[in-house]
């Protein structure tokens, strides 16, 4: 399995190099660090030239790229171009922590709800519950995240409080702390997490419950489920220990692979809720022309997605003892 992981890594590295170069090139196209110098009439051409040489902007693109990559890999993220020369890493670090918290909350909540909903749907196939959950799932998959976010803000931030006749909004609609908040406050932090998590989760719940339903339907007609019943096990045990145990294998791996698709929803959600995570940092640095922050933001996100995909593949082997990872092949289901 370690050999398999290393091989996967060897395939992943070139992809990361391509992504980094693409991002580096694109970032250079959309914003020029010397643009402001050019526009500023009070800077002499000599000073401007000295600055360009200081930044290495006179070098060919591949030299600039190589230098940046070397620094990035060795953990030197440099200083911000726009934010008065502050170190880049603290910005990225804070954003990464916030985003990981949001993703963890949304994914675990969605798995919990999605797996339960999907399992019940499969067991009560054709019931009102099943049709109801299918309908809600399709809504969940169809509703755009930005719209859902806005509706959640309106509902919890405005209408609900008005209807109930209570003064302040029930839930905060932006940021991660209330204005004027000093230091860490768990309750306040969690309250700020609720709406973004909901916005991000609806789609995930919909997708996970569909996966789980399909997987459970397949599993519950298997011979070994009949064997389990013939042993006189309680139906709950048949469903959970025999049915769900098998159904979870494809669902968890699929969920881990889908993490990459979360990135898009994350960017939108963080923007709508002004949640200071990687998505918001990405948009702000893009709009502010700060590619010193843009680059590590994109790269760290890419590395995270690839790592989670790798974890998903390895997880497959752990969950299903029949899977043999190795020989440079994708996991193959045996038997």
């Amino acid at each position: 399995m370690i050999g398999y992981a290393l091989r996967r890594l060897a395939i992943t590295l070139p992809v990361l190099v391509v992504i980094s170069f693409g991002t580096f090139w694109a970032a250079g196209q959309i914003s020029s660090p010397s643009a402001q110098l050019t526009l500023n009439p009070r800077i002499s051409p000599e000073a401007k030239q000295a600055y360009i040489e200081l930044l290495g902007l006179d070098q060919p693109l591949h030299v600039q790229y190589g230098k940046w990559l070397g620094n990035f890999v060795s953990g030197d993220f440099g200083t911000s171009l726009v934010r008065n020369g502050q170190d880049v890493w603290p910005f990225v670090e804070r954003a990464l922590a916030n985003t990981l918290l949001l993703v963890a909350a949304a994914v675990s909540l969605s798995l919990l709800i999605g797996l339960a909903v999907g399992t019940v749907s499969a067991i009560r196939r054709g019931s009102l519950w099943d049709y109801g959950s299918v309908t809600v799932s399709f809504l969940g998959i169809s509703i755009p995240v930005f719209w859902l976010g806005l509706m959640l803000q309106l509902f919890f931030g405005l209408y609900l409080a008005n209807w109930l006749g209570v003064g302040p909004p029930l839930l905060p609609t932006a940021g991660i702390y209330s204005p004027g908040q000093q230091g860490f406050d768990l309750v306040d932090r969690v309250r700020h997490l609720v709406l973004p998590t909901m916005a991000l989760s609806l789609q995930l719940v919909a997708v996970y419950s569909r996966y789980m339903r399909a997987s459970m339907l397949e599993v519950m007609s298997a011979d070994y489920i009949r064997t389990a019943r013939s042993k006189g096990l309680r139906e709950s045990r048949v469903v959970v220990r025999h049915g769900m145990r098998s159904a979870l294998v494809p669902v968890t791996t699929q969920a881990a692979i889908d993490i990459g698709q979360l990135v898009g929803g994350l960017i939108v959600t963080e923007r709508v809720f002004q949640y200071p995570g990687m998505g918001l940092l990405f948009l702000e640095s893009l709009e502010g022309g700060d590619y010193t922050i843009l680059l590590p933001t994109v790269m760290i996100t890419a590395v995270a997605v690839f790592s989670l995909n790798l974890v998903a593949d390895l997880l497959y082997g752990v969950l299903d003892p029949r899977v043999r990872l190795g020989r440079g092949r994708r996991p193959v289901r045996r038997g």
Partner: protein
């Protein structure tokens, strides 16, 4: 349990049967319509007896077996008439909880294909332990030790290591032995074995059958053996019930039925079976194909394939009757008297 000796028990049987299936009718919904997989099936299984139900694939014998324990496919299968009396208790009417208590502990089942029949992601030892602990309050460690003993009993080498194996790490024969070990874990009174050797190589079949016979001898239990293989029946069963298109057509002691089949279908099955002392050459076969069980023929279901069939056979379904009247074999055939003559 009160043994109803002499009271209402059929002639020739001193005690009430352990399992008595009465006029059982089982329906299965398929894409082509509702199939009557078992239609008025009656048989008795006595203590310490091996009864074989023999028939072609698709004749309804597996559904018959599943009906007994209420294991029919949930959405599509159901018992629509008849009784399944286990020690006098009708399992067709039993509550799910009562059925659960009986499954595994009193009536256990061995399925055809142990590769798909065992849970692929769980260790075989855990699957046996689970069976024990579903019915008995025993500590896990103790149940585990019993699982090792059971694996040893069914002839699995190095059972203390094999309890930790996953099904895919075992050979087909070993997997079927695990199935047997699991089924006999709680000394059930009835063991239903549905084609226990069909998925195995011929040499392994013999070993597994030998194991099954040895254990059933040890356990004092009765076995209901479902098979399509008359060869298996001959060496193993006390009595045989021949099933054709959802109905039993002949029932009696194996030796009797072998010596002189009363039903043309049984006779056909026997001559189509290869024998080691036969002249080499082509095997006899029964002409035609089994009827569609969605809309079976109105009279005797075998009539369209039967060389003895007359008008009565095509119109009136034959009743089960003793033939000869003083014998031990029952047969459902209008022309039983003529079978085997000329």
């Amino acid at each position: 349990m009160s043994a109803a000796i002499g009271s209402g028990a059929p002639a020739g049987s001193a005690t009430a049967p352990l399992l008595s299936v009465r006029d059982l009718r089982t329906e299965i919904d398929t894409e082509n319509g509702t199939v009557t997989a078992a239609d008025g099936v009656s048989f008795d299984l006595h203590g310490n007896e091996v009864l074989a139900v023999v028939g072609e694939s698709g004749c309804g014998k597996t559904m018959l077996a599943l009906s007994i324990l209420g294991l029919l496919p949930r959405r599509t299968g159901r018992i629509t008439a008849g009784q399944v009396l286990f020690r006098g208790e009708d399992l067709a009417q039993a509550t799910p909880e009562r059925l659960r208590e009986i499954r595994g502990a009193e009536i256990a089942m061995i399925f055809q294909d142990a590769l798909t029949g065992l849970h692929p992601l769980r260790r075989v030892g855990d699957q046996i332990v689970e069976m024990i602990r579903a019915h008995e309050r025993v500590p896990r460690a103790l149940a585990k030790r019993r699982a090792v003993d059971l694996l040893d009993l069914v002839g699995i080498p190095a059972p203390d290591r094999r309890v930790h194996s996953f099904p895919h790490e075992l050979s087909g024969g070993m997997r079927q032995r695990v199935m047997i070990a699991m089924a006999v874990a709680l000394d059930p009174q009835v063991l239903i074995a549905d084609e226990p050797t069909t998925a195995l190589d011929v040499t392994v079949q013999a070993q597994v059958l030998e194991t099954l016979a040895r254990i059933s001898g040890d356990l004092n239990g009765s076995i209901l053996l479902i098979t399509h293989d008359f060869g298996v029946v001959a060496g193993f069963a006390d009595r045989v019930a021949v099933m054709y298109a959802g109905r039993l057509v002949e029932q009696g002691p194996v030796a009797e039925v072998y010596r002189r089949p009363r039903h043309p279908y049984t006779a056909g099955l026997l001559v189509s079976m290869p024998r080691i002392d036969d002249e080499p050459g082509r095997l006899e076969r029964i002409a035609g194909t089994p009827p569609n069980l969605v809309s079976p023929p109105p009279g005797c279901r075998f009539a369209p394939r039967c060389s003895l069939a007359g008008d009565i056979c095509r119109e009136v379904p034959p009743e089960m009757r003793l033939w000869p009247p003083d014998g031990a074999v029952t047969v459902a055939c209008h022309r039983a008297e003529q079978v085997g003559e000329g």
